[in-house]
Amino acid sequence: MSTPSAPPPCPHLAAHRLSSRPLRFLRRCLRVRPLGRPEIRRDPRELPRCSPCAAASPSQSPRLYACLSCAAVFCPSHAASHASASAGPGHQIAVDVDRAELFCAACGDQVYDPDFDHAVFLAQSSSLLPSTSSTSPSPAPRKRRRVDYRAWAPDPAEFALMSSADPTTSASAAAPAGLRGLNNLGNTCFMNSVLQALLHAPPLRNYFLGDRHNRFLCPRRTPVRHRATEADAAKVACLACDLDEIYSAAFSGERMPYSPAKFLYSWWQHASNLASYEQQDAHEFFISILDHIHENIKDDQHKSHAQGHGDCCIAHRVFSGILRSDVTCTSCGFTSTTFEPCMDISLDLDIGDNTPFGVANTKPHVRNGERGLAGMNSKVSTLMRCLERFTRAERLDAEQKFFCERCDERQESLKQMSIRRLPLVSCFHIKRFEHSAVKKVSRKVDHCLQFPFSLDMAPYLSSSILRSRYGNRIFPAEASDADAVSELSSEFEIFAVITHSGKLEAGHYVTYLRLNNHWYKCDDAWVTRVEEHTVRTSQAYMLFYVQKTLYYKACERAAAV
């Protein structure tokens, strides 16, 4: 979804722009109420009426237009007559007094003008903003300097070296490089499934295969640094080193399944609260290891983790994005904005219907032109609908009244989330496990979820959400949310799906990987090739998308580590 562009004006609008005062003069007539539509009123208490209608019958029409040339007010049925009957040209353009939309009476259609939209936007922003960041400072707008991509190919000598070392370099490999089963060490499918997804996350894979973290040279392995809690630590567990070892094993060309025992051992040394032989949650594991990798290899010079720039470690560089949260007072319209870094997005399953979508049914229940009225008519949840729900403005409970600085008291408020910055790899976690603390029960939601293979995140970005909040007005580029311009593309491609089958207490995780446009099922030690429909009809629990276009960022330091 690109920024809104003004369609070419109809001839009447074009003529009006040339002959009349600029539309910006209407600005002084624009009245904006908090959370309301912008209105056109010459006088704040003015009650417009359609003169011809008032003469004929006392009833009021809900839509009224004011002619821009003579300020006469009329309803749609009298619009055409005003345009043609009035003396002199230029009475065709009118404005909807309740919605501040331009209307061409001659064409009988709503028309759009950038100058007018600009005026409306200014009126709205002066009354409804400023949005202040209360808890955390808004990230400073950083223009990333981009470096041009230079293609590289190995020369014959390098190619010979590569072929001798790794037989999978040649084209006749039975399966893509890096594909290798992982042995289940005893209820460790939660770990295997996440590891498979990480093994094939392009930025992470490139980092480790590019020797950016060499486990033989890692300073954290030396006995110099010790931890007080581990008395026998001659070696300190560095999860990044163990991950490096797994990458080496997976891409070694060996086909027998690999046992990630060392990784399990290291992880248990870090996450002692999760260290037990029993089934665990894959998402919890995912967050845990990213956290510990950060702890292991964070670059203390870069304190920018709090701002989500992701320069502190590879885990954040790959997975960290920034979420924007706006809380708006319903009484005065004051908005409080906060920014939070996030490693993934947890989505509620948007259950429209209670009846599950049966794949065995012959006819899919999709109707043309249906726009998902809160999922009422369709029986399937979709990822995009879940994201829409995530970024929807929600009214907070009466119990959770937000303290409005402007009103100086607690007021009911609206909360809306949006994505300020997209990570390189977007991980979506589908909340399938419901825990009710009240009822002391947990259950798994088996509802099927449709997800696209190509995903455009543009509608969920802060820039899009803000724009739609202000009525989708055509912004001039400078006036828009200045620090929300995303230089990176918002298009993503899926590469891994972690699915959960079975019950909450006894289930099984499996990862589907998309390599070279083929899908592979990684079920612990078993790696098999599957068709698309298997993936589409599986119960997605975690979805991994990678940005379609990656850019090189100019390195700020002379020696890049």
Binding site: A174, N184, G186, P257, M343, H508
Partner: protein, 192 residues
């Protein structure tokens, strides 16, 4: 909502009805105006794309359900439930088969003993002294014993072997979980 044609409405009802109709018209006009703007300004691409995706998905899902995917290499049961999942009589993408419990032998990095891969986790749990079945009593007494002996008092008589084993028990107090984290872990530990 339609008023009965028989009895004329009271003025109050007429007023209320007109109010309602006006509100309804207003709401409809609001939506129409917004959608008109979205369509005219070219902002509605995602709606079409989403519907198209849903159609494609439904079609492919229905088509796939009619026939099993071709055998070839890599025959596997879809949605294989049950832990340690594997195929029922088939080969993987490399033409290999694997037992239900991984037969690989690993050297435990905690105690050095060889362990079968498929049983590594339960072994490691006991070895490291974590999990529900951890036995905490030994470590406490041995730690106390060491401190006493370092003061020159020959208190506990333990062989060097058991000493080595005890020092391998790490982080005992916080290692015991209450088994609360099932497969569906709680979501409170991460941001958001």
């Amino acid at each position: 909502m339609s008023s009965s044609n028989d009895a004329p409405l009271s003025p109050r009802s007429q007023l209320a009805l007109r109010c309602f109709e006006e509100l309804l018209d207003c709401a409809v006009a609001d939506v129409a105006s917004e959608c008109h703007r979205i369509a005219r300004l070219g902002l509605d691409r995602s709606v079409d794309a989403e519907e198209e995706e849903l159609r494609v998905w439904a079609a492919r899902a229905a088509a796939g359900g009619d026939h099993h995917h071709p055998g070839g290499f890599g025959v596997a049961e879809e949605g294989g439930a049950g832990p340690g999942g594997g195929s029922k009589g088939g080969v993987d993408v490399f033409g290999q088969t694997h037992p239900a419990i991984a037969a690989d032998v690993i050297e435990c990095m905690n105690c050095g003993r060889p362990v079968v891969a498929g049983r590594f986790a339960p072994h490691l749990e006991k070895c490291m002294g974590k999990g529900r079945k951890a036995r905490a009593k030994n470590t406490r007494s041995s730690t106390a014993g060491r401190t006493r002996s370092s003061n020159g008092i020959a208190a506990s008589s333990y062989s060097p072997y058991s000493n080595a084993a005890n020092t391998n028990r790490v982080n005992v107090p916080n290692g015991v979980t209450d088994g609360g984290c099932g497969t569906g872990g709680d979501h409170s530990s991460h941001v958001l």
